[in-house]
């Protein structure tokens, strides 16, 4: 008897062990707000198989602290799966039996693609703050180079949440013939003042850290305090009050008695959790990239000269699905719906759906059968 007789063909599987690749582009990239890279690197991963006519590719765009490692593990002993492992895989919503899924690290990043921490070939030193200002438009322009390099003329879907959702929308606007469908989750067409405010506090924490030193720091001496504080605060904005109460409540660890200052040591579970988040973040993320990416979020505004989204959306051809999550107060449902309202006002193809969730902005990253269903239904619909 054949072994495959035992395999449930509809069961969800894992993409398994993956590896990243590097695309080294030697054609210069001009940035939207000025500046140019003569050459640059884009780190990316792919899952599934590109079909013969290269028509089954899906581009996944990552959020602020995400990267190209969307699914799978790097080795058998690697316990940390890619950030969207629940969405990408055999028989999962982005089904790698059908689709060729691409994740790439944004330009300006610190996890393989050229960014402020990379060496400027002209000077032999890191770019640091001389790196061009990065916009969502530039991230997408660099992704387009990668897609061209892979020989894909038209993506089946561009999908992303938060900053990734902004990139997906930018794809719809800038390259209307290169993406068949767009899904933007927990995102906005322009950041609200509250979201900008939180980002500015994060940037201040980094830039006021003496070790930041105008952006010039080394691997052994860098603004870890500033970056971890920024991450701690930002992490709160990704969650919700209800979610935090459910997960942590007022649970405490026992204080060590004796030291009169021990009351100020982290004791609530939520305090310990945030410190852990901050500390693990500085081990994998670069402070300057954090400055560049949060600025890219803040200056993102798809409204045109007259202040309307409609004028910008005139070029859109792909059907757009946006999804808001009820407890997301950073990129609230109304901002996701506003995108679809604008598209519909100019008779474009668009859909807005709201997913009930208590997990705040990070809802789009978590187990959500309703989100899975929406992605499947939107992908299955005739374009």
């Amino acid at each position: 008897m054949n072994n495959s007789d035992y395999i449930d063909r509809d069961a969800e599987g894992e993409v398994g062990i993956v590896d990243y690749s590097d695309f080294s582009c030697s054609e210069p990239l001009d940035f939207a707000l000025g500046g140019r890279l003569e050459s640059f690197n884009i780190r990316y991963e792919t899952y599934g198989t590109l079909n013969a006519d290269k028509s089954n590719a899906i581009l996944v765009c990552h959020a602020l602290s995400g990267d190209h490692h969307c699914a799978g593990v790097y080795s058998i002993s690697d316990r940390k799966q890619g950030w969207w492992n629940n969405i990408i895989g055999p028989n999962k919503p982005l089904d790698t039996n059908k689709y060729f899924v691409i994740g790439s690290n944004c330009i300006g990043g610190c996890l393989g693609s050229t960014g402020p921490g990379s060496i400027n070939p002209a000077t032999g030193k890191p770019y640091n703050m001389t790196f061009p200002i990065v916009t969502i438009k530039d991230m997408v322009a660099a992704q387009k180079r990668l897609i061209d390099y892979l020989g894909i003329s038209r993506l089946k879907l561009v999908i992303g949440g938060s900053m990734g959702g902004m990139q997906a929308l930018e794809w719809a606007v800038d390259y209307p013939d290169s993406a068949e469908k767009i899904i933007a989750l927990a995102t906005t067409a322009y950041q609200n003042a509250q979201a900008i405010a939180f980002n500015e506090v994060g940037r201040s924490a980094i830039m006021r850290d003496p070790l930041w030193n105008g952006g010039s720091y080394t691997h052994s001496s860098f603004p870890a305090d500033g970056l971890s504080t920024a991450r701690m605060m930002a992490h709160i904005t990704y969650l919700s009050k209800v979610g935090l109460d459910a997960k942590f409540g007022r649970h405490k660890r026992n204080l060590q008695s004796g030291d009169p200052n021990s009351i100020f040591m982290p004791s609530f579970e939520i305090e310990n959790y945030l410190h852990h988040q901050g500390e693990s973040f500085v081990n994998r993320f670069d402070a300057n990239t954090y400055l560049y990416f949060t600025k890219a979020l803040d200056i993102f505004d798809l409204r045109g000269k007259n202040g309307t989204l409609e004028e910008t959306f005139a070029s859109v051809k792909a059907p757009v699905l946006t999804v808001g999550f009820t407890s997301d107060w950073l990129f609230p449902p109304s901002q996701n719906r506003e995108i679809v309202n604008a598209l519909i006002r100019i008779k474009k193809r668009a859909a807005y759906a709201e997913v009930e969730s208590q997990l705040g902005h990070d809802s789009f990253l978590t187990e959500s059968p309703r989100l899975y269903e929406l992605i499947r239904n939107f992908l299955d619909a005739n374009a």
Binding site: P319, L321, R337, E338, V340, N341, I344, R345, K347, R349, A350, A351, Y352, A353, E354, V355, E356, R370, E373, L374, N377, F378, D380, A381, N382, A383
Partner: protein, 210 residues
């Protein structure tokens, strides 16, 4: 104890959709308030090549409509209407939506602002059997259209043809066309529709609109 039945009035639904879609011309734009799974919109897109948009507050229905490839907005009808400018659609369709709304007057008036024409379809509670039911049993009917007893049903405002005409008259709303269907929702009723029609569809416009 009655058990709830689902979709047993589907053929009736088809008839009702047929009547509304007859009024819509090729290539027009249609906003369907309470679009459900998008059956009417899908039919209009296929047969009349319309630009259609659906609004519904039910996630599962919106999700099914998305699978049909339709334009939809998940959420409140009034909120959706407020995002559209005057006369931005040729048609607004309220098929069996009005009785379930908290603010039907506002929705009708907003619809007349947003669309040139508004098609409103509703179950006629003035239908003679419904009247007899109230008279003899003192309660709303439980039949194919209302399969569930009151405690399993969504809140519904009973509308009658007469009461709806009065509403239009007192609000300066013009009734351009009307269609009254009999108890079987097939036969057209001309005589005393308030008493003999089971389902009524009206085409409304603002007073000065042609």
């Amino acid at each position: 104890m009655q058990t709830p039945k689902k979709d047993n009035n589907f053929s009736k639904r088809k008839v009702e959709l047929g009547a509304i879609s007859e009024w819509v011309s090729d290539g027009e734009s249609v906003l369907d308030l309470g679009c459900g799974r998008g059956i009417l919109l899908e039919k209009l897109v296929r047969e009349k090549k319309i630009y259609g948009v659906g609004v519904d507050s039910d996630f599962d229905k919106i999700s099914r409509a998305i699978k049909r490839g339709l334009n939809v907005i998940h959420g409140d009808i009034c909120e959706a209407l407020s995002s559209f400018g005057d006369k931005s659609f040729d048609w607004i369709v309220c098929s069996r939506t009005l009785p379930e709304l908290e603010n039907p007057e506002l929705v009708v008036k907003e619809s007349l602002r947003v669309a040139h024409r508004v098609a409103v379809g509703f179950i006629n509670h003035g239908f003679w059997i419904n009247r007899l039911n109230y008279l003899f049993k003192g309660e709303r009917v439980v039949n194919k259209v209302y399969p569930d007893p009151w405690w399993l049903s969504r809140p519904t405002n009973p509308i009658s043809v007469g009461a709806f005409k009065d509403f239009c008259k007192s609000n300066d709303i013009t009734i351009n066309r009307r269609r009254f269907l009999g108890a079987n929702w097939r036969t057209q009723i001309k005589f005393m529709p308030d008493l003999f029609s089971g389902y009524a569809i009206f085409e409304l416009t603002q007073k000065n609109e042609k």
